[in-house]
Symmetry: C2
Subunit: 458 residues, 2 copies
C-alpha cells in the first residue's frame, strides 16, 4: 500500500462517509475552468470543522500525502488540481456566516461560503462585502488566490478586505493571524502572506472580513466609444483625477456581440465602458457628470445611466456572464483566460499592442478589463484537439505576459500563479522566488501542501 493509500485508510476511519474515493467525486474534483486535463485526486475529504481539517493534516503530514484545498473550483490556472495525487479537501461544508459585527464593520465566515450567499445573508444589515471577481467563488478560494474584480478600483482587493485568518498548518497546528482592530503593527503580516498562497502554505479555515456600508445612492452608466484607446484613455483620466468610481469595466466589441446574444441586449458592437458610482445623491450626481465630461472629451457617446436596481443588476449580470456568453458562441471550445495588469499609463498601449498581435496571427479574441486597475483579460477560445491552435493561444499569452513585464506590470492581476504561470514567476520576481521557496520550505518542509503550484521548494 502506498503512503497515500495508508493516509487515505486512516482518513476513512476519521471521516467515515465524508471521505470519498468514488470515481465520480474524484473526477468532479479533477475538473477545472481552464485548459488543463482532468486530474482527479485519490480521495476527497469533506471536513465539517477546523478540528477535522487539523486531524486530516496530521494524518497526511505523517504519511507525506499531498493535500489540495478546494472551494468550488472556479480558479483559472489549475490551482486546485491534484497533480501529485493525494487528497483534495473540499471545504464546501464549512460554509457558515459565523458572526456579523455591524458596528465594527466586519464579519467572521467559514471558507466555503460563496460571495453571493454572504452578500444575501448580509443584506438586512445594510452592509456588504465588496470584492467581486465575477464568478460566484468561495471566500476561501478568493482569499487563497488573492482575488479582486470589478469593484477593486474603489474598494480594494482581498488583501485589503481580509483582516484576520484561522489557518491549519501542514502539520495540523491551528494558528490565528491578524486581529479585529482596523490596523496592527504586531509582528510579521501572516494574514497577507496566506492571502494568495493558493493552499501551498496552509489551509484557511476561518476569515474575518471587512464590510462596507451599502451606499446611499448607486448609479450605473454605460458609454460607447469609437475605438479602444478612447475608452481606455477616459478611464486613465478618471483615475488620474482621483474620481472614486466604484466600477470601470472595459468591454470590447466581440464581447458586446456575445453579451447581446446571451443576455438579450441590444448594445452597439463597439468598445464600451460599464461604470458604477457609489456615494450620496449629491456626490454620485457630481461624479456621473464628471465622468460624462471625461468620456465626451474622448469622443464617447450614448452615455446612459441607470439608478434603478433592476436595470443596474441586469447590466452587471450581463457583464459577469461575459465568459459564458463568449463560450456559448463557440460550443465545445476550450477557454484560456489571460490576466495581465500594467501601470495605468501603459494600459492603452498594452491593450492595443495585444489586439494588433492577436490579429496579426489571424485570431479574434475578446477583451474585457478592470481597466481602472490596469488589469485586462483576453479570452482565447480554441479546439483543445487542435495542437496548432492550442500552441498559438499559449504563444500569444506568453507574449502578453512578457509585454506586461516590460511595461512594469505583472503576469497576473487577480487569477494567481497556479500551475499555469509558474515559469513566469521567475521572469517577474527573479531572485525573490528563492525567498518565496524559503518560506514554502519553512511552512511545509515535507512538501505536501498543494504541491506543484506557485513555487518549487526544491
Amino acid at each position: 500500500m502506498s503512503d497515500n493509500q495508508t493516509a487515505i485508510s486512516e482518513l476513512q476511519v476519521l471521516l467515515g462517509d465524508r471521505l470519498s474515493t468514488a470515481e465520480a467525486i474524484r473526477h468532479q474534483h479533477g475538473e477545472n475552468e481552464s485548459y488543463f486535463e482532468n486530474t482527479p485526486p485519490e480521495a476527497v475529504a469533506f471536513p465539517k470543522d477546523t478540528r477535522e481539517v487539523s486531524e486530516i493534516m496530521k494524518i497526511c503530514h505523517k504519511h507525506g500525502c499531498p493535500v489540495v484545498p478546494w472551494g468550488v473550483g472556479t480558479s483559472l490556472e489549475g490551482h486546485a488540481l491534484a497533480v501529485r495525487g493525494g487528497v483534495t479537501i473540499n471545504l464546501g461544508s464549512m460554509d457558515k456566516l459565523l458572526h456579523v459585527a455591524p458596528e465594527d464593520l466586519y464579519a467572521v465566515v467559514q471558507p466555503g461560503i460563496t460571495r453571493e450567499t454572504l452578500n444575501t445573508e448580509l443584506r438586512a444589515t445594510g452592509l456588504f462585502f465588496p470584492v467581486d471577481p465575477g464568478a460566484n467563488a468561495t471566500i476561501g478560494g478568493m482569499t487563497a488566490t488573492s482575488a479582486s474584480g470589478t469593484t477593486t478600483v474603489r474598494y480594494g482587493k482581498m488583501k485589503d478586505n481580509v483582516m484576520a485568518l484561522e489557518v491549519v498548518m501542514a502539520d495540523g497546528r491551528i494558528i490565528r493571524t491578524g486581529s479585529k482592530a482596523k490596523k496592527s503593527s504586531a509582528g510579521y503580516d501572516l494574514t497577507r502572506l496566506f492571502i494568495g498562497s493558493e493552499g501551498t502554505l496552509g489551509i484557511i479555515t476561518e476569515l474575518t472580513l471587512k464590510l462596507h456600508g451599502q451606499p446611499e445612492s448607486v448609479s450605473a452608466a454605460v458609454c460607447e466609444f469609437e475605438d479602444t484607446a478612447s475608452a481606455v484613455n477616459s478611464v486613465i483620466m478618471a483615475v488620474q483625477m482621483g474620481l472614486p468610481v466604484a466600477r470601470m469595466e472595459f468591454i470590447d466589441p466581440l464581447s458586446i456581440r456575445a453579451i447581446n446574444a446571451y443576455s438579450k441586449m441590444t448594445m452597439r458592437e463597439c468598445p464600451h465602458l460599464f461604470m458604477e458610482f457609489h456615494g450620496t445623491e449629491t456626490s454620485v450626481a457630481e461624479e456621473v457628470q464628471r465622468m460624462k465630461d471625461i468620456t465626451e472629451e474622448f469622443g464617447g457617446g450614448g452615455f446612459q445611466w441607470a439608478t434603478k436596481a433592476e436595470d443596474r443588476n441586469k447590466l452587471w449580470h450581463a457583464r459577469h456572464n461575459t465568459y459564458f456568453a463568449l463560450k456559448a458562441q463557440s460550443p465545445g471550445a476550450q477557454g484560456l483566460s489571460t490576466d495581465v495588469c500594467v501601470p495605468i499609463s501603459k494600459l492603452a498601449q498594452a491593450i492595443e499592442d495585444t489586439i494588433a498581435d492577436v490579429e496579426a496571427h489571424g485570431w479574434q479574441a475578446p477583451i474585457v478589463g478592470h481597466v481602472g486597475d490596469g488589469n485586462y483579460h483576453v479570452l482565447f477560445l480554441f479546439d483543445r484537439q487542435n495542437a496548432e491552435e492550442f500552441a498559438l493561444a499559449k504563444e500569444l499569452t506568453h507574449r502578453m505576459n512578457m509585454r506586461a513585464l516590460e511595461l512594469g506590470g505583472t503576469v497576473t492581476g487577480e487569477h494567481g500563479i497556479g500551475m499555469g504561470k509558474m515559469k513566469y514567476l521567475d521572469d517577474e520576481h527573479g531572485d525573490a522566488v528563492h525567498v518565496m521557496a524559503d518560506i514554502k520550505r519553512a511552512f511545509d518542509p515535507t512538501g505536501i501542501m498543494n504541491p506543484g503550484k506557485i513555487v518549487s521548494a526544491n
Copy 2:
C-alpha cells in the same frame, strides 16, 4: 579580536571614513525616543547605495556580526538599538527621490528620505504621499515599523501605500518584491512581509510608493466636547456611516493645555476632535455639514472650520507637536507612549476604562488618538530615576495592552513590537509567533538581522 571586530575591520576597508567607531557617533545611534537606556553599536556604517549595503551584509553575514538598520531614530519601542552590539547601518545618505510617475501615481524613493522632504519635493506634481505618523520619520523607517497616523482613516497605512521594495537579505542577496501595477497575484506577498519586519528580515534599500492627488478642496475643523465618550462616539458614528473624513483626531484636556502653552493657542481645556475633510468643494461642504450634525447630536459645540491653508497648517502643526508640548510641561521627564488599537465599537469603553485605571493610581496621563481607526496613545511622563513611577507606568501600560486584547484589538496599532512589546506578541498571536519565528530563521539563519526584536528565532 572578536568576530564583530573582524567584521568592522573589513567594513573599514570597504567604506573608509563612512564607517565610524567614534564615541559620539556611536552614542547618537544608541539614543532613542523612549525609556530604553542608551545602547550604542560598536560601529556605524553610512552606505551610499544598495550595492554597498549588500557588501556590508556579506561581510557581517560571514562573521556573524549583528546589523541594525537606522533611519532617523524616531521609533518608540527600542527598534533601532544595538542590543547585541555589532554595526548600525545609517541609511540617511540614501535619501533621494529617484523617480516620480505622475500619470501612474507612484514614486520611487530611497529609504533615507523623510516624509516631509518627500512631500516638499512632490509639491509641484500636485501629488502627495499621505501616511503621516506625526514625526518626520524616514520612509524606510515608516515601512519597517508598519507606520500609520492621522490620515490613515482615509488613505490607509504603509501596508496600503507601499507597492514594491528592493531589499538586501541577510546574506547580501538583493531582491525586488511587488510591481508597478496596482495589484498582482503573483506569488507570496513579500512586500507586506517586509513592511513591519523592523529590520529583522532584510534591509529595505528602495521603495515604490503609491501617491495620491492633492484634493481640490481641503477643510479642517475643530469641535469641543463635554466628555470623552461624546467625542469618541461622534467618531464612531461617522465611521459607521462611512463618512470618508481624512483625519479624525481625539485630543484630551491635558494635551489641549500643553498644546495651548506650546503652540500659543487658546482652546478650551476639554476633549476635542481635530478633523480634516478632502474632496471636491461640494463633497467637502456636504461632509463638514454631516460631521457637524453628528457632533451636535453628541452635544459637541464650538464647531469651527478652516479652509485657509495657513490656519489648517497651524492646527496640524500643533497636533504633531503634542508629544513635545507634553514633554515641555515636564522638563527632564522620560516618556512612555502606549499604542493600543481596538475595534471601533469598543473604543469609548477602552479609553474610559484606561482613564479610570490611570486616575485610580493617582496619575494624570494625556491621551491622543487616531480614533477613526480605534487607535489611541496614552503618554506616561515620569522620572526615570524613580523606580516606583517607572514600574507603575509599565504596569498601567500592561493593563492597557491586556484590555485591548480582551476587546479583540492589538497591543500596537502603529508603533511596532521592537523590544518593548515582544512579550505581548505571544499574548496577541499565540502559536502564530512560532510561524513568525520560522520565517525569521528561514530569512536570517545566523540571526544577525536586528537581533532581539519582534521574535526570538531560538
